[in-house]
Amino acid sequence: MDMNRRQFFKVCGVGLGASSLAALGMAPPPAYAETIRHFKLANTRETRNTCPYCSVGCGLIMYSRGDGAKNVVQEIVHIEGDADHPVNRGTLCPKGAGLLDFVHSPNRLKYPEVREAGSNEWKRVSWDEALGRIATLMKADRDANFVTHNANGQTVNRWLSTGFLAASASSNEAGYITHKVVRSLGMLAFDNQARV
């Protein structure tokens, strides 16, 4: 006896007798059920985020594979608009709809690198080497050029020979600590994207 899934349930619907049919080995071939494609998002985690492009601040839902456990690497597989968000109400523009390609861009930077003076290539370095060399360069420049008093003898405590351009899409928390550090060094050549 051969029947498809729909016919099988029809038979089952007749009543108790149907279960005995199944018990007699008349269930549809199980291989068929396995060909049904699983929903892509069924086993993903949902995380709320905000679109990093323009300033409308559209709500996003990011879907990632992995259960969030300590040694599990999460991978974002889909991003869509958050339908509950009062501004974008689930919609995204062409840029936002393509955000997955930003997260997984082949041009994402992965390792600290240095391009030495006059060189034509990048060289991979460790974080420790990169941060150590930068801190040494900063200190040498600051110590050599820090101005404690201006020509009139007024206390000014500024460092003008190194500058810092802050981001436009980093979070408030990153911006806050950046400001805290930069001003403690006495820097004034300090701006963010709002300037342009």
């Binding site: 985690r45 709320r48 905000t50 492009y53 323009c54 300033s55 409308v56 601040g57 709500g59 996003l60 990632s64 999460q74 974002i76 009062p86 501004v87 523009c93 840029k95 930003f102 997260v103 861009s105 041009n107 994402r108 930077l109 992965k110 034509n120 974080w127 990169a130 150590g132 060399r133 360069l137 200190k139 820090f146 009139n152 405590n157 460092w159 003008l160 020979s161 500058g163 351009l165 981001a167 436009s168 980093s170 979070s171 408030n172 990153a174 911006g175 806050y176 600590i177 400001h179 805290k180 550090v181 001003r183 403690s184 060094l185 004034l188 963010n192 994207q193 709002a194 300037r195 342009v196």
Partner: protein, 812 residues
């Protein structure tokens, strides 16, 4: 934004001018559509191009780029001449009755006190109110005094006749009058217009004054503080608002506090200058609380080391010796070009693409000793030393700059908050680990700081005190958690904070503060950004709230995220009610009102909650005079009233408003000598160019994203059919666009969207140039558009004049 995105649904008229929301902010633009569909709103677009916003507008008016002050000045004249103003609002809530000092004058394009050699107004003392014997500003409620602001305003804009404005702007007079007429209808108390603008207003040498002119129109119409009204800067980046709020600009501290100048050696005088007393009886003058915010900031930064004895570490703040915007990027890159800068950091910023005159920016970077890039993507700036053929033709071996490139996380790989243009602080959550060894910006800043602090502790060095004493209480010093930092900028009590009137304890020592009203100037509170106080209270993270309920049906959603200040959604909202405290329009524009005992409403009132209408406090509580200003006092570089000045590269070579050669272009804009020489003339570069962005791309990021690169793969320029005919160009040809600073080559899109305008009796063609290409990315490589743009900024903000310059166009 004074208002916010969803509030646009309450508008009766939407004016998009100096922006293109349908293209650049599509998901926010839906609220314009909503207003049209459900509030019978009309949409007016005024723009050099018939753009995507214009394509769905009820009325479109073309305008020559850079002439918006003329257009809006003409509108002010029209409103006053035709008595289309919201009288009661203007009389009670603005400075029209204030009498200006004798000596204030405007003649032949210049205000009094101009110094041509300095290109500025060193003496602005007459740009102020007359002060009476009682210490208050003199007012004339009858508006008959010849020097009251109303008469000065009327007189100033009487020159902006429809004929003259049409000749300056190139807008056909009939279209212009239709626009003005439609706008004038919103002078009715129950009709409200919103203005949506963006970089089309900011990126001019007179950008700040363009925005002021728009705000003045809104004040005359009574549209500020109203639901569906306001001045709404669309803002271009996801946290450009937040980073500005946090004061990451040369001259600022968090929360719009300002750095001291060299002359401000005395702490008490520094505070006194910023805590202005009310200029009229009964006014709040909220900045009188300045010291509370300042001391709380210094406690957040320097903890126990900021004491009353050391003036809260006042000497540890660097003092500014540059006027105005301080060491803004144009000034810094000019210094770099002169070899005065040794080190530079680019955190998520791509200056070689984003700043004007690429040749100068590239040459400047090549004079650095070290350059540090912190970015999730391989930016053009990080490879400014790489020869990329004609896109970046440099001698790599000769460039002696050491470049470090540090990989950072992107939005999806971190927790934190962003501020949208409606001032909403929205928390987001991490969904994945970053690629490779990428770290957060927080970890990189902490890692650098720690190494520096260790070096200073070990070796000593120049002025180590602020570095050694910076408060760093984080559980993991090398990687502070975002929630620790968010709690720090909200603020907490360092000792018990009590109510000065009742003595009741408002916050116990160690507790998070509920808002900035709890901040104190005695060192008992710490708060890293006073306007963000209330975002992470003792009740938890308010930015993570997700209640989208809208009980009044006006889209204010007070339970969604958290808006600064004090979760207020519409700024100046006291002005949405009449002087007696009732909404101007009780049916459809109910926002806040006096309920007999207190201010209440559908939004958090922007007012002293218990000040009864009969007490006479005015709605603009941040101003010492309590009212909004048509007369900008000494706050603007160019003068108290906006005046039309030509772009620095003008197609007509003169200012039709006055013959004075000093007043052709902004007389108070700073111009560096090496840039002055590079301004082009119309004889050689006859066409007006303007730059802009496309809906499919985001600045210079999405050229690294495949989908975006597929939808807009190749660089193009837009030229009108008439210009194409004149130059023998057909759609799809490659053209060379050149300015006096360089050239780009791109595909020509020949369009009806750009039509020639008649300006000052001449035919003027405008050329549109999108910005998104460069020499790195997965999109087809192209030229950096800012190769063409001039290195000059707005007179106040120093934002570059990207929107208006001269080019030539030839077929390749």
């Amino acid at each position: 934004m004074t208002n916010h995105w969803a509030d646009i649904q309450n508008a009766d008229l939407v004016l998009i001018m100096g922006g293109n929301a349908a293209e650049a902010h599509p998901c926010g633009f839906k609220w314009v559509t909503e207003a049209k569909a459900h509030n019978k709103a009309r949409l007016i677009v005024v723009d050099p191009r018939f753009n995507r916003s214009a394509s769905v507008a009820d009325l479109y008016a073309p305008i020559r780029t850079g002439t918006d002050i003329a257009f809006l000045g003409g509108l002010i004249n029209y409103l006053l001449a035709n008595d289309k103003i919201q009288h009661e609002y203007v009389r009670n809530y603005t400075d029209v009755s204030f009498v200006v000092k004798e000596g204030f004058a405007f003649e032949d394009g210049l205000f009094n006190g101009y110094d041509a050699a300095k290109r500025s107004y060193p003496d602005k003392s007459a740009w102020s109110y007359e002060i009476g014997a009682d210490g208050y500003a003199v007012v004339d409620p009858s508006l008959s005094h010849p020097r009251c602001v109303f008469n000065l305003l009327k007189n100033h804009y009487s020159r902006y006749t429809p004929e003259l404005v049409s000749s300056v702007c190139g807008t056909p007079q009939e279209t212009m009058l239709k626009v003005w007429e439609a706008i004038a209808e919103t002078s009715r108390p129950d009709k409200v217009m919103t203005i949506m603008y963006a970089l089309g207003w900011t990126q001019h040498s007179v950008g700040s004054q363009m925005i002021r002119t728009g705000a003045m129109v809104q004040l005359l119409l009574g549209n500020i503080g109203m639901p569906g009204g306001g001045m709404n800067a669309l803002r271009g980046h996801s946290n450009i608002q937040g980073l500005t709020d946090l004061g990451l600009l040369s001259n600022l501290l968090p929360g719009y506090l300002t750095l001291p100048g060299d002359g401000e050696q005395d702490y008490a005088a520094y505070i006194a200058k910023r805590t202005q007393k009310p200029l009229r009886p009964g006014q709040l003058s909220y900045w009188q609380n300045y010291e509370k915010f300042h001391v709380s900031l210094m406690k957040a930064w320097y903890g126990k080391s900021a004491t009353v004895e050391n003036n809260w570490a006042y000497d540890w703040l660097p003092k500014l010796d540059a006027p105005g915007a301080g060491y803004d990027v144009l000034k810094v890159f000019d210094m770099m070009f002169q070899g005065q800068i040794n080190g530079y950091f680019c955190q998520g910023f791509n200056p070689i693409a984003a700043f004007p005159n690429k040749a100068k920016v590239g040459a400047a970077l090549a004079r650095l000793k070290y350059l540090v890039i912190m970015d999730p993507l391989a930016t053009d700036t990080s490879e400014f030393w790489r020869n990329a053929g004609e896109f970046n033709d440099v001698d790599t071996a000769a460039i002696q700059t050491t470049v470090f490139r540090l990989p950072t996380t992107c939005f999806a790989e971190e927790d934190g908050s962003l501020v949208n243009s409606g001032r909403w602080l929205q928390w987001h959550w991490k969904a994945a680990e970053p690629p490779g060894e990428a770290r957060t910006d927080i970890a990189i800043m902490a890692g650098l700081f720690h190494r520096l602090r260790a070096l200073y502790a070990k070796e000593g060095g120049a002025f180590p005190e602020p570095i050694l004493n910076l408060d760093w209480p984080y559980l993991r010093p090398d990687d502070p958690a975002p929630d620790e930092l968010a709690r720090e900028f909200n603020g907490r009590a360092l000792a018990d904070v009590s109510d000065p009137a009742s003595g009741a304890v408002l916050a116990k020592a160690g507790e998070q503060l509920a808002g900035f009203a709890q901040l104190r100037a005695d060192g008992s509170t710490a708060s890293g950004c006073w306007i963000f106080s209330g975002s992470w209270t003792q009740a938890g993270n308010q930015m993570a709230r997700r209640d989208n309920a809208d009980p009044y049906g006006m889209g204010q959603t007070l339970g969604w995220a958290w808006a600064w200040p004090a979760n207020r959604r519409i700024l100046y909202n006291r002005a949405s009610a009449d002087p007696s405290g009732q909404p101007w329009d009780p049916a459809k524009k109910r926002l806040v009102w006096w309920n007999g005992k207190a201010w209440a409403g559908t939004d958090v009132p922007d007012f002293k909650p218990d000040s009864a209408p009969q007490d006479g406090m005015s709605p603009f509580i941040m101003n010492p005079e309590g009212v909004a200003r048509f007369f900008a006092l000494d706050k603007m570089a160019e003068g108290p009233f906006p005046e039309h000045y030509e772009p620095f590269e003008t197609p007509i070579g003169r200012n039709p408003l006055h013959g004075n050669v000093q007043a052709v272009s902004n007389p108070a804009a700073r111009v560096f000598k090496n840039d002055l020489e590079l301004f082009g003339k119309a004889e050689e570069f006859p066409f007006v160019a303007t730059t802009y962005r496309l809906t499919e791309h985001f600045h210079y990021w999405t050229k690294h994203c495949r989908l975006a690169a597929i939808t807009q793969p190749e660089q193009f320029v837009e030229i009108g059919e008439a210009l194409a005919r004149e130059r023998g160009i057909t759609a799809g040809d490659r053209v060379k666009v050149s300015s006096n600073r360089g050239f780009i080559k791109a595909v020509a899109v020949v369009t009806k969207r750009l039509r020639p305008l008649t300006v000052d009796g001449k035919t003027v063609h405008q050329v549109g140039i999108p910005i998104h290409w460069g020499f790195s990315g997965v999109a087809k490589n192209g030229f950096i558009t800012n190769t063409l743009t001039p290195f000059v900024g707005d007179g106040n903000t120093q934002t570059p004049e990207f929107k208006s310059f001269l080019v030539n166009v030839e077929k390749v």
